[in-house]
């Protein structure tokens, strides 16, 4: 598999009254053709901002992509002019936003909004675009799609709107679909519907997916690789099975421990991570997780660990300590 997306040293900052917020601090990752990447982290860890930065959707000012390269199909998204970028956004890369309630234009019909990206990116007639939109609305499981084409967003429920969002994201058959917490606002039964749908479409259309979430449960069954983010850094990246069975970073271990599981003894006390996430107002010269870490050693207070290979050449963790032995890596 070749690399579809290759991000190197991406850095995004926001200017605020309190100072510069270092939202993303030089992250690098790749997405292969046909691969599904999960990006996990808590609110404010930079997972959404990093994806928005790639597509240059960060409002500027106050935001600024300070450094980095992002090669999509060999071309740098961050250096392109707007015209070139417009040909990629919505057509080769599309994004499904988190909130199905606020991401639609309330005065345009669902059908128009679904057809819009196809109409913009292809030289087709209104009729052709409409037919295709109806086909995609059917594909994502909207009943009576042809009749509902002229309905407005408020006439749809949350789960239905999220399906329409996905139809909109898929209508140009993108090579990369970015889902920004696409199921977080939905109930579990609807969430299960959407996940099954996306898995099926991925296999049918052969696209790559980046799935952003804070829920370690939902991605376990659908992604190939996981990036765990904390304080604007990727602190662990691994194939999905390796991450869940052999988590290496103390933060990942804590995160997995704080989730109750339906197949475990109920008497276990949840392992909570004490303290609070970092404020991001300074770019730390130490490990960003050190203040909350139970394994921290002297070195963690002086040196920010880079991603280092552990456990084979697929699994990387940014930690000086081996949490299994409690000793520093050699």
């Amino acid at each position: 598999m070749s690399d579809l997306l290759d991000v190197r040293g991406l850095e995004t900052q926001f200017k605020t009254r309190e100072g510069i917020v270092h939202a993303v601090n030089g992250i690098s990752f790749k997405v292969k053709e046909g691969e599904t990447l999960g990006v996990v982290g808590e609110s404010g860890c930079g997972k959404t901002v990093s994806m928005m930065s790639l597509l240059r959707l960060i409002p500027s000012p106050p935001g600024k992509v300070a450094a980095g390269e992002a090669y999509f199909d060999g071309k740098d998204l961050l250096k392109m002019d707007n015209e070139q970028l417009r040909h990629i956004r919505g057509s080769k890369i599309s994004i499904v936003f988190q909130d199905p309630m606020t991401s639609f234009n309330p005065v345009l019909t669902i059908g128009k909004q679904t057809a819009e990206p196809f109409l913009i990116h292809n030289n087709v007639s209104q009729e052709e675009a409409k037919d295709r939109a109806i086909r995609y609305l059917e594909l994502v499981g909207i009943p009576n799609a042809a009749e509902r084409y002229n309905d407005y967003p408020h006439q749809f429920s949350g789960g239905m709107r999220q399906r329409v969002m996905i139809a909109m994201g898929l209508i140009c058959e993108p090579r990369l679909l970015i889902g920004d917490e696409p199921t977080t606002a939905l109930d579990v039964t609807i969430q299960a519907q959407i996940v099954e749908l996306v898995k099926k479409l991925r296999d049918d259309l052969g696209m790559s997916i980046i799935w952003i979430t804070h829920d370690l449960g939902i991605i376990a069954g659908m992604v190939d690789r996981v990036n765990v983010m904390y304080g604007g850094y990727i602190i662990e990246t691994a194939p999905v099975k390796g991450l869940y069975s052999q988590p290496q970073h103390p933060y990942t271990i804590g995160l997995l421990g704080s989730l109750p599981r339906m197949d475990e003894s109920v008497d276990r006390r949840l392992t909570s991570i004490d303290g609070l996430p970092p404020t991001l107002l300074e770019k730390p010269h130490y490990c960003p997780f050190e203040p909350r870490c139970v394994y921290a050693v002297e070195r963690c207070r002086h040196e920010n660990p880079p991603l280092m290979p552990v456990d084979g050449d697929e699994h990387f963790s940014a930690c000086w300590v081996n949490p299994r032995t409690g000793k520093e890596h050699k």
Binding site: A220, L255, L270, T271, S272
Partner: protein
């Protein structure tokens, strides 16, 4: 379960909200059947989990039990009194014993009050430590310590705290009057995962220390399993299944509970690989016009003609295991994994 003392008894509780049209000659054109006849007991010292999807009426049920909404009909027995019949001063006295923790820690604390004012407000209302400012202050400090906050924070304002810390302030406020029963309305769903565990651990510790009884309302089934002794599942205004936690999660009998449990993702790729899901079709029907007969029949794969004709009784199928389904016995062993 050994026979315990019933602390709260809910009988045939209904809460309908009218839908009105017109401004001057307003008339009722419909009703939202938010809570449509629920009955259950809560035992002293236990945690009863109440789960269901958004719009199923679980929060309304919690609020109606506390008389924050007055019920349309039905009764709520608490310490020998029917709360739905009480008014004014008598209700206020009962309220000392039952408190609430709200979902949104950002909206449920008054931004213009200090932490100390927030926590002492219930004491003021109930005339505790009246005229004894020192004692009240000491009590606030004690409460802050109890929920794991530094007593020195008492003079700060809510915006100076993070979500998890605010939720701790909300817990301290609920504890101020030493209540017996606390209704927790989605107390953790607005918090990050690692912070959720902190708050759940706190609630568990407090229960052990103070002998509290919780009604824990949530939509996160794995968290409810972790914290509850018994669990009730709501769908469209009614309770479809109520059982001991282990029985409910190991052998759910209602088709809705089965589907709900199978939809919960496991944080484990090895399990997820082999798991079969029951994918429910469609959406929850509108509570303005709930389906006739069994409410779940429109999405149920086992539905038969009788399900349209008759509303299934909420009955005890196995000791302590209540189900509202005509076919509970037949479906009992048909368990998804």
């Amino acid at each position: 379960m050994t026979q315990q003392e019933v602390i709260l008894k809910v009988e045939n509780l209904y809460k309908h909200f009218p839908i009105k049209k017109g401004i001057i000659f307003s008339k009722e054109v419909g009703r939202v059947h938010a809570v449509d006849g629920i009955s259950f007991n809560i035992y002293d010292g236990e945690t009863l989990g109440l789960v269901g999807e958004s719009g199923c009426g679980k929060s309304t049920a919690g609020r109606t039990i506390l008389q924050l909404h007055r019920p349309t009909s039905g009764s709520v027995w608490f310490q020998g009194e029917d709360l739905s019949k009480l008014r004014g001063e008598k209700l206020r006295i009962q309220r000392r014993e039952m408190q609430m923790i709200f979902q949104d820690p950002y909206a449920s604390l008054n931004p213009r009050m200090t932490v100390s004012q927030i926590i002492s407000e219930p004491m003021e209302i109930h005339n505790l430590y009246a005229g004894q400012a020192q004692l009240r202050k000491a009590r606030v400090a004690e409460l802050l310590e109890l929920v794991g906050l530094n007593p020195a924070f008492a003079s700060r304002y809510p915006h100076e705290f993070s979500g998890g810390q605010r939720q701790r302030i909300g817990v301290a406020r609920a504890l101020a009057l030493e209540p017996k029963l606390i209704v927790c309305d989605e107390p953790i769903s607005a918090l990050d995962v690692s912070i959720q565990a902190q708050v759940v651990n706190l609630l568990e510790d407090l229960q052990e220390e103070l002998g509290l009884t919780y009604l824990f309302i949530a939509h996160d089934l794995s968290m409810v399993r972790h914290i509850s002794d018994r669990v009730a599942v709501m769908y469209l205004g009614i309770i479809v299944e109520l059982a001991d936690r282990n029985a409910l999660y190991k052998q759910p009998m209602h088709p809705y509970t089965k589907a709900l449990l199978s939809a919960v993702p496991f944080p484990d790729p090895f399990v997820e690989e082999t798991r079969k899901r029951i994918i429910l079709e469609g959406d929850v029907p509108s509570p303005v016009n709930p389906p006739s007969g069994c409410r779940f029949r429109t999405r149920c794969s086992y539905a038969q003609p009788i399900c349209t004709a008759e509303q299934p009784e909420f009955r005890e199928v196995v000791s302590g295991h209540f189900v509202a389904c005509h076919f509970a016995e037949q479906l009992q062993n048909d368990t998804p994994v």
